[in-house]
């Protein structure tokens, strides 16, 4: 089974405020407030960590969830975010510019779009 790699769209602006992660598409100015899982995917989308590892390290390790179900939900969510041009998805690692993934504000929680 192929692995799925995630990278942030560099044309998306992101901010963490009051425990919420918000992002805005530069493409169509749509504002999104990421829920907890979406925020984990966004934070972990470094182009080199496959989705199954993100699920193992950031979702299964922190929440009491079934792994296969969590992976399925995470992939579905990742594809939805890609549909909004928030994430880039690939079955191969996605090269990133040096220093692109410097430390970001952490701790997103909260609602949905």
């Amino acid at each position: 089974m192929s692995r799925l790699y995630l990278a942030r769209n560099p044309k998306v602006a992101a901010r963490s405020i009051g425990g919420e992660m918000m992002i805005m598409s530069g493409h169509d100015s749509t504002l999104f407030t990421l829920n907890q899982t979406a925020a984990i995917l966004w934070q972990s989308a470094d182009g080199s960590t496959p989705l199954d590892e993100i699920v193992d390290r950031r979702i299964c390790a922190e929440f009491d969830v079934d792994r296969s179900e969590a992976l399925q939900d995470a992939e579905s969510l990742a594809r939805e975010l890609a549909g909004h041009q928030i994430l880039q998805l690939s079955e191969a690692p996605i090269p990133q510019p040096a220093g692109h993934y410097a430390a970001k504000p952490a701790g997103p929680t909260g609602g949905s779009r």
Binding site: A13, R15, G18, M22, L31, T33, G110
Partner: protein, 271 residues
């Protein structure tokens, strides 16, 4: 030998909104007179302007002015179009032109758009809100249509100076934000005073059974500001600038919920 050309007198006025003078050039005296009336209080002398627009007047097209706006940039030149006007503007040359019929609505829209573009690079924005100055500080009142912007403007006491009942002008300063008066009116149809003051707070309006002010969480504050910022350009870089500007703004200016009964006592809570 007879003259083949006739020199046409070029008429100009400068409209200064938010401290940014824009010169408008036309050859039509009646259009100039209309602008002087429309922007009374915002028309200044003939000092140098930051932008020069030549107006080309055409016959009315019959297209509704609320048709979709398109604002795009190519090779450093902005193109602004709507059913009732077309305009181009080059920030580098600080000049442009507007093709429209002799009406006040088209140039009003162009001015709003140009100000949003200039402000976006400076950390400021136009915001869908009423605003007023009281005791030397500016207060903004934001909300969806019907939330009470016109009502709160109409209820303003005599010691409050109305800056606008519809579109507030927010400019970033080194240590805060300044609100300027605008000629952009809503239902009240009254031009704001052409003055400015530091912004003390933004109130999100809601009508209710009592007058009260409540805090809101930072996320809701940011969402509310972004929902009310006016921005028209299809430009990823500027969209990102506006996004970050909204967060900078809420980190410095209190954003609160103002629930009010629609009578003058609400102003006892303000300023």
């Amino acid at each position: 030998m007879s003259e083949l050309t006739t020199e046409v007198e070029r008429l100009s006025l400068v409209i200064e909104i938010g401290g940014m003078p824009v010169r408008v050039n036309t050859t039509e005296p009646s259009f100039l007179a209309m602008l002087q009336n429309r922007y009374a209080g915002y028309v200044t002398g003939s000092q140098p302007a930051e932008i020069d627009f030549d107006i080309e007047l055409i016959r009315p097209s019959g297209v509704e002015p609320d048709a979709d706006v398109s604002v795009t940039q190519r090779n450093g030149r902005w193109t602004l179009t709507r059913g009732d006007f077309r305009a181009e503007w080059s920030p580098a040359s600080r000049s442009g032109w507007i093709r429209q019929s002799a009406n006040p609505y088209s140039i009003d829209a162009v001015l709003r758009i140009v100000h949003t573009l200039v402000l976006a690079r400076q950390g400021g924005f136009l915001m869908h809100s009423a605003s007023a100055i009281r005791n030397g500080e500016a207060f903004l009142f934001a909300g969806v249509s019907g939330a009470g912007k016109t009502t709160i403007s109409r209820l303003a006491p005599s010691d409050a100076t109305l800056l606008t009942d519809e579109i507030s002008y927010v400019r970033k300063q080194r240590d805060g934000y300044i609100a300027y008066g605008t000629p952009f009116t809503g239902e009240l149809a009254k031009l704001g005073e052409n003055v400015s003051a530091p912004i003390a707070a933004v109130y999100l309006l809601a009508k209710g059974p009592e007058n009260r002010i409540d805090p809101i969480d930072p996320g809701e504050a940011a969402r509310s500001i972004l929902a009310n910022v006016l921005f028209f350009a299809e430009d990823e870089e500027l969209v990102q600038s506006i996004f970050h500007s909204a967060f900078e703004f809420v980190s410095r200016v209190p954003v609160l919920r103002l629930t009010f009964v629609p009578d003058a006592r609400v102003w006892e809570l303000i300023g």
